[in-house]
Subunit: 428 residues, 2 copies
């Protein structure tokens, strides 16, 4: 019998527990598929006594994740602690320094320290695998790194925060305002302790940064992402978008432009009849556009014990089979530094504004847009009871810079009842 | 510089030509990603002189695919000839016998000879990779074999013949009968020389047989598939299905049941608002249900130069990187012989029939169904001008055997104007 691959698992929350369950439940299937057994040598977590529904007696216990990573009977360090510093980072570094491969679900750590960790891995003949860090059970990391390795990528897009997608679809389906649905999601336990990680687009931004590195061979550049959360999306935006055949999604987009790497995470309008537009509730979806493959769409659960543990196990099984690629698909030293091209790719935009009920207000707005070089595709002024009139505009393709110029100039017209909202329309 | 991976490509149709283009266009990217160059040593095809838009001078030419496979300067044999016997099979066997890995897009060859070829590969330390054989550019083989290797699969489903999906969606969108759209598809060059390969469900059946082997660890069993084509789907079926919230798809389903492996390829009703129901035109989609991952959906182009060449290159890049798994994900000797459980999984069914305009006709049909143990969920009799009345029935969950019993008994009632059509409703 060949030697087992021996895991050390740090962090026994839902995902870590899920991994333990799979290793136990599918022992013989895993052995058959990998050609060798997969076993767990040792575990660590904050509390040893908590009942997790899985017996831990068979595994050595370590209080300290670094000590776990260094154990002689641990071949692969499975990091499921979370957080971009502290024990997760220290133990990952300890494992890599010893030439041990790391499997992790930690998007924050890789978004911040990815380049340095990938270099450390390369220097020690190790690799970091992180399928579980992006879009839960969806095998997007492997698809980009391996399946589609014959492509140059033109664009990668995704809905990668289930909580935000839940909030946006719930607003639409129930006709409820943002604050009410946010409170619901909070009561259901859907939100992180710091909810801005979710609704502010940070968590999804971490994931996008990792996809960019693989797709474009660039160093992870989380700071280069333009991030905008869903906090200012109103039920009116959602209803008006629906009326024009669109749905609002917190969409991450990364694409290489003539001016550099453009990475955006923001609420966008997407066609309602597109796969992204049809994505409901907490589901995740990633759309990859390759020069040969065309558009490949992957959809699945973005979180939860089973899906995330499935992704961790996919990485573990790869390592058991001897499948190893450099962390971001090519040697870390060959990853180019990205030049952030902020919002340079042109697109149509959706603009919502409240105009004072004064003669000539609409004409002033139209003139302001014209001065900024923004041409109007459609405009609607709605029936209203308030002293200000809601106006919606869909522009022809333009740049975010031109839109921002126009919005700045509108402020001086004296006809704006409140600051306009601008949402990009992402064509698919 | 590490040694290049040297390809020998047999078959220079659209896919082979597409592979040559990618190797040339992305030379430096491929080298960076694989850690070594990918080169083409030699090619073979039926005609040397045909203009393919790619220069061939740099490659050695072989008239004979077997000679190509045996060349000393060929590390990997890329089989893009097609056909389940003849040169494709002979050259594949020759390559494997020499311990050379094979990359192929040939679903027919693997569906018929897969087990024997996988055993031959194992015996010689080689492997066969066939991402391009199933659903074109969609990375379903790698997803099942590697990404989801921690799962036991409960069901795998797919729309895997773009021509059939084109015909069915075109019928629905244009309101045209099958024969008209079939003629259109023929004129557009969408159909195989023998169109029953497409519309008869054979081609999609070949693909399903390969997915079953990986998902359930069983020997490829193409003969165990219940195959029914789309030839008898009428525009009335499509319109009535739409009216009830369904769409008709040529759907392949494989699942392990208590009675054995059930593999079906048949026109089915699927919910119109499900990912499968929303799949339009020539697109392909595969839905995988894993016990941990939940439902994972993959969508993309199922054919064409770019997508299929992208899949071939994914396999080539894996081999260049040293990523090798046994042909069907585990040693061929460990694949169990499948017991075909024919249509045993229960489901609701859609029944369409023409009844003679006689008093009591409907009552007789209802009684026949009751006698067969089939209970009715919904029934509709439509307005009609003909001497026979169209009747639609949606049953509660039942078995195909009970439906077939009921249909056989209906023949004896003397009220059937024509043979009933029964379509399974696949719940998602």
């Amino acid at each position: 019998m060949p030697q087992p691959l021996r895991l050390g698992i740090a962090g026994l929350g839902t995902v870590g527990t899920g991994v333990l369950k799979i290793v136990r439940r599918h022992e013989s299937t895993l052995t058959q598929r990998a050609g060798r057994p997969v076993s767990v040598s040792a575990v660590s977590a904050r509390s040893r006594d908590k009942d997790r529904g899985v017996p831990l007696e068979a595994f050595a216990w370590e209080d300290d994740a670094v000590a776990l990573a260094k154990r002689d009977d641990v071949d692969v360090f499975v990091e499921l602690i979370g957080g971009d510093t502290g024990p997760a980072l220290e133990a990952t570094e300890a494992a890599l320094a010893l030439g041990k491969d790391v499997v992790t679900a930690n998007k924050a750590m890789l978004a911040v320290h990815g380049q340095r960790l990938a270099e450390l891995a390369d220097a020690n003949g190790a690799t970091i695998r992180f399928e579980a860090a992006v879009a839960g059970g969806i095998p997007i990391i492997k698809a980009l790194t391996e399946s589609l390795a014959g492509n140059e990528f033109t664009r990668v897009m995704g809905v990668m925060n289930g909580t935000c997608n839940y909030i946006l679809t719930r607003m639409e389906n129930a006709g409820l305002p943002y604050d009410d649905v946010f409170a619901e999601a909070d009561a259901l336990g859907y939100l992180e302790a710091d909810p801005t990680l979710d609704v502010g687009g940070i968590d999804a931004g971490h994931k996008l940064a990792l996809l960019s590195a693989i797709a474009f061979g660039t160093q992870v550049d989380f700071d280069g992402i333009d991030i905008e959360g869903i906090e200012n999306v109103t039920i009116e935006d959602i209803e008006q978008a629906a009326d024009m055949g669109f749905r609002v999604k917190l969409l991450g987009v990364t694409q290489m432009t003539g001016r550099g790497l453009e990475q955006r995470m923001s609420p966008c309008l997407v066609p309602a009849n597109s796969p992204l537009g049809q994505l409901e509730n907490a589901m995740n979806m990633v759309v990859v556009e390759g020069d040969s493959s065309g558009q490949i769409v992957l959809r699945g659960a973005g979180a939860g014990e089973g899906p995330t543990a499935s992704a961790v196990m996919g990485d573990v099984m790869d390592l058991a089979r001897g499948i190893r690629t450099p962390t971001f698909g090519q040697p870390a030293a060959s990853l180019r530094k990205a030049t952030a091209a902020r919002a340079s790719a042109p697109a149509p935009f959706y603009l919502r504004m409240q105009l004072e009920d004064k003669p000539g207000a609409l004409a002033k707005v139209a003139a302001t847009l014209a001065d900024a070089g923004v041409s109007i595709d459609r405009m609607r002024q709605y029936q209203h009871e308030k002293p200000s009139a809601p106006v919606l505009i869909v522009t022809h393709r333009t740049t975010r810079a031109a839109i921002d110029d126009a919005i700045a100039a509108m402020g001086a017209t004296g006809v704006m009842a409140s600051a306009p909202v601008a949402l990009r329309i992402e064509t698919l």
